[in-house]
Amino acid sequence: MTETMVGILLATLGAGTPLVFAALGELVTEKSGVLNLGVEGMMIVGAVCGFAVAAESENLWLGVVMSVFAGAGMALLFGILTLTFQANQVAAGLALTIFGIGLSAYIGLDYTSVALTGIQQIHVPVLSDIPVIGPLIFSLDPLLYLSFVAFGAITYFLYKTKTGLLLRAVGESPESAVSLGYPVIAIRYMAVLFGGAMAGLGGAYLALVYTPLWVEAMTAGRGWIALALVVFSTWRPARVMVGAYLFGGVTIIQFHVQGFGVDIPSQLLSMLPYLATIVVLVLISRDINTIRLNAPASLGKAYHPSV
């Protein structure tokens, strides 16, 4: 029984991690007041670029680095459109997704049947042999550890550093930030690029760790889920983690239920992660103040410094 539990928890961690990366990145982007709906596009371009570079160079970590740059590159496109050219953020984000899915398919044409051994888990000597804790804490893959670090660093950055405060101020009221002499557009660019880089990492996790392969559209909507998780989290990093693991966990549990052979149509079981997310969000958002406090007030609105 414990083994099954550990299995469920481990699988939940794995299923949640791509979402964690992408959603934490989007959270930072949104905190600066920019809504980038192109997460799916950035993720998949990150995935294919990482996979291609890893396959060519036979160096997985070079692949990961490439994913980060590819994600950020996509985000730069979005930034130029929305921050410099003042385009509508919702439309630009959706266009970015269309573009990314097409571009990734094009880049990936030669990599479809390439086999790659993914990034392996780190087994901490001695400690990884402890029952339960060992496999759950001391023998995970390095990117999973990185996702924990990213969570800590982002939380610290947003709430404990001056730059983080500034970023949030820009998201609250770009007008007042600029009147204090801060470079709103530059800060937003940084936040957008960071979001893209993290989405790229999410893609790298899929293509280099979780399922080390490349097939078209392999992100299969995870970018959209990541976006939803940011809303779900009411823009708080800790809740992003909760949301990602909740979503991943419910998926895993409904598979377990199926594996045990329960007489419920699988389509209805597959709805559970989506319904669970809605229900939990309803419970959270009943208190209007938590959202007011955390939602960036200028989210999604174009801003031009000289207006």
Binding site: G118, T211, M218, F255, G259, G261, D263, S266, Q267, S270
Partner: protein, 362 residues
């Protein structure tokens, strides 16, 4: 002078274009244009990929006599009718529509273009100019099941499946029958991921099986994720569509693989020769449309021998995977000894054999 030059130029270029058109027309006269409609990108590494391999094999076999084009990622339903029709209006003499959901559009377009030959995969509606073809995937599944049944220690196998349609159920049942033919205690668990195409979910389902004690996993979805998950966890796997051993050098036992090339070549030759007639083709191991990928080296000699015997028996017709007696999950005998399921029963299969865990919702 200048005018002369221009008119000369025009004349030359007109002649050039004319001869180009003539030569194109000449080419068109003896070469058959063949269109393929694919449901997913050819990079899906599964179903469509194998069909495209078949197309390439046919091109190679027939050389300059055929000219092929494909359109990928064509959604089933309303969209496909336009694409199929486009091939017909553009002078294609033969069109392969390679997914079940193209059935009604294919029939519809075929009515409007009686001179064009259509071949629809995995459906059940045909017409004078529409043939159907499907492979006996289940024969490969049965043989793979035998290997799995011999190799499992926990007697539990996990089957990651996309959607509960007859074709997938045939595979699950044949695999289970194959396993239990050599290992009566074996059971097969099934998880429906409700997607043909989501490597992450396929892996998650495989992980769940492994956590639930399965030591062989297989799949009826389009990626290699299940084989890779097995490799990582150190359990056996059985691939599908193509030989996936390079994704699981240690774990990959074998795979039931699809080979459409011979059939495509045959149909193209018949259409060119004018002796094509609408048929409902079910090819399997015997015709080479289904093959068993080379066995893993870890498979003992005697098992390999047993599988080879069964393969030969399927080839010569002495063995049918759905040969009675077969019991359903309730333990009732549904196929009596000495009989086998008919093709029609197979086509519309919607029940589990004994040994599959879980229920198909009614």
């Amino acid at each position: 002078m200048r005018l002369m030059n221009i008119s000369k130029l025009l004349l030359i270029s007109t002649a050039g274009v004319m001869s180009a058109i003539l030569s194109l027309a000449a080419l068109g006269a003896d070469s058959l244009k063949i269109g393929f409609v694919y449901v997913s990108p050819i990079g899906d590494a599964g179903w469509t990929y194998q069909h495209d391999q078949g197309r390439l094999q046919m091109e190679e076999a027939l050389g300059g006599k055929v000219e092929t084009k494909y359109i990928e990622s064509v959604p089933e339903g309303g969209e496909s009718e336009r694409v199929i029709r486009q091939f017909a209006t553009d002078g294609y003499g033969l069109v392969f529509t390679t997914s079940f959901g193209y059935m009604n559009p294919t029939i519809k377009v075929a009515k409007q273009f009686p001179k064009v030959v259509f071949e629809h995969a995995t459906g059940y509606k045909s017409a004078k100019n529409v043939g159907t073809y499907v492979a006996r995937f289940y024969e490969g599944r049965y043989l793979a099941g035998i290997v799995a049944g011999k190799m499992t220690k926990s007697n539990v196998a996990g089957y990651v499946a996309a959607f509960p349609i007859p074709e997938v159920l045939r595979g699950i049942n044949a695999f289970t029958l194959g396993m239990r033919s050599v290992n009566p205690d074996a059971t097969v668990k099934v998880i429906w991921v409700n997607s043909w195409f989501d490597p992450g979910r396929e892996r998650e389902a495989a992980d769940v099986f492994i956590a639930q004690g399965a030591d062989v996993v297989t799949h009826h979805t389009d990626s290699t994720a299940v084989v890779q998950a097995a490799e990582e966890a150190g359990v056996w796997s059985v691939g599908y569509h193509s030989d996936m051993s390079k994704y699981g050098p240690k774990s990959h036992l074998t795979a039931a693989t699809h080979h459409w090339g011979d059939y495509y070549t045959k149909v193209a030759e018949e259409v060119m020769g004018g002796n094509w007639a609408s048929t409902d083709i079910w090819w399997g191991i015997k015709e080479g449309m289904i093959k068993l990928a080379p066995l893993n080296q870890a498979v003992p000699e005697d098992v390999a021998k047993h599988v080879a015997e069964k393969e030969a028996a399927i080839k010569d017709g002495s063995l049918h995977p759905f040969q009675g007696p077969i019991k359903n999950q309730a333990g009732e005998e549904v196929v009596a000894a000495g009989t086998a399921l008919t093709d029609e029963d197979l086509l519309k299969m919607e029940w589990y054999v004994e040994g599959v865990e879980g229920k198909l919702p009614k």
